[in-house]
Amino acid sequence: MATDKNLTYNENLNKKVYVPVADIYETEDLYSLKMEIPGVTKENLDISIENNELTISAKSSIEEKADEKCRYSEFSSMDYKRSFRIGNDIDRGKVEAKLENGVLTLLLHKHETVKPRKITINQIN
């Protein structure tokens, strides 16, 4: 879950593809990833894991009204994409995702086998 692969622009589209900012923390059981993707609804969000690569891509659903002219703009219509390389310690089948107020939270659970385990000592005698 360390390196994030560098990101490319979507060549066939004029739309810019933004790299959303992310916060990641690791605990004994899981990795948590928080990402800011304003303007994205559940339907336009795509999260996939393929070959040790976690990819989050999303389309913004901010509508542009045809009868309105743009007067001033500090951001353009956004698509988002970001990939992370993930290790084998993550259980591919146990990923939880939540989208709230434009913030995506991903919980990537670790495999049972890599979680720290306490070994109890059996007392003989």
């Binding site: 879950m1 360390a2 560098n6 990101l7 933004y18 790299v19 959303p20 900012v21 992310a22 916060d23 990641i24 923390y25 690791e26 605990t27 990795y31 948590s32 928080k34 800011e36 993707i37 304003p38 303007g39 994205v40 609804t41 659903s61 901010i62 542009e64 009204k65 009868d67 309105e68 002219k69 743009c70 007067r71 001033y72 703009s73 500090e74 951001f75 956004m78 988002y80 989208l99 107020n101 434009g102 913030v103």
Partner: protein, 135 residues
Amino acid sequence: MYTYNFFEDAMNLRDIFDDFFTRKTSYEPYREFPFVKIHEGNDRLTITSLMPGIKPENVDIQLVDDSLVIAGEKKADYEEKPYLRKERFFGEFKKSIKLPYRVNHQSIKADLKDGVLTITLEKSEEAKPKKIEIL
């Protein structure tokens, strides 16, 4: 008691270099938060602003003279966990947008959905062109 840890500084330095060379974050960093967009059409203004992770109760919108002031706070949601990455910004913000004309005070609508704030303003009657008849 604070123990100096060289590696912490080294990591900070690494982050600074990484940011400088590789990071292309969302939005344009030289603009002040929050990022806005103004659309105009048929005596109507629509201001769109990106506000991920901000709750409606933490945003304060005011009409001051001919400017619209958006102020608020983005509260940190950090937990007591070892972070591998911290890229998001938190803190207070305030931004004033000068409106091109006077707006109707009664018909201002603001809506915060999916991290996007949309404010709709209507041109006030006084600002509309008035034809003057020659007697």
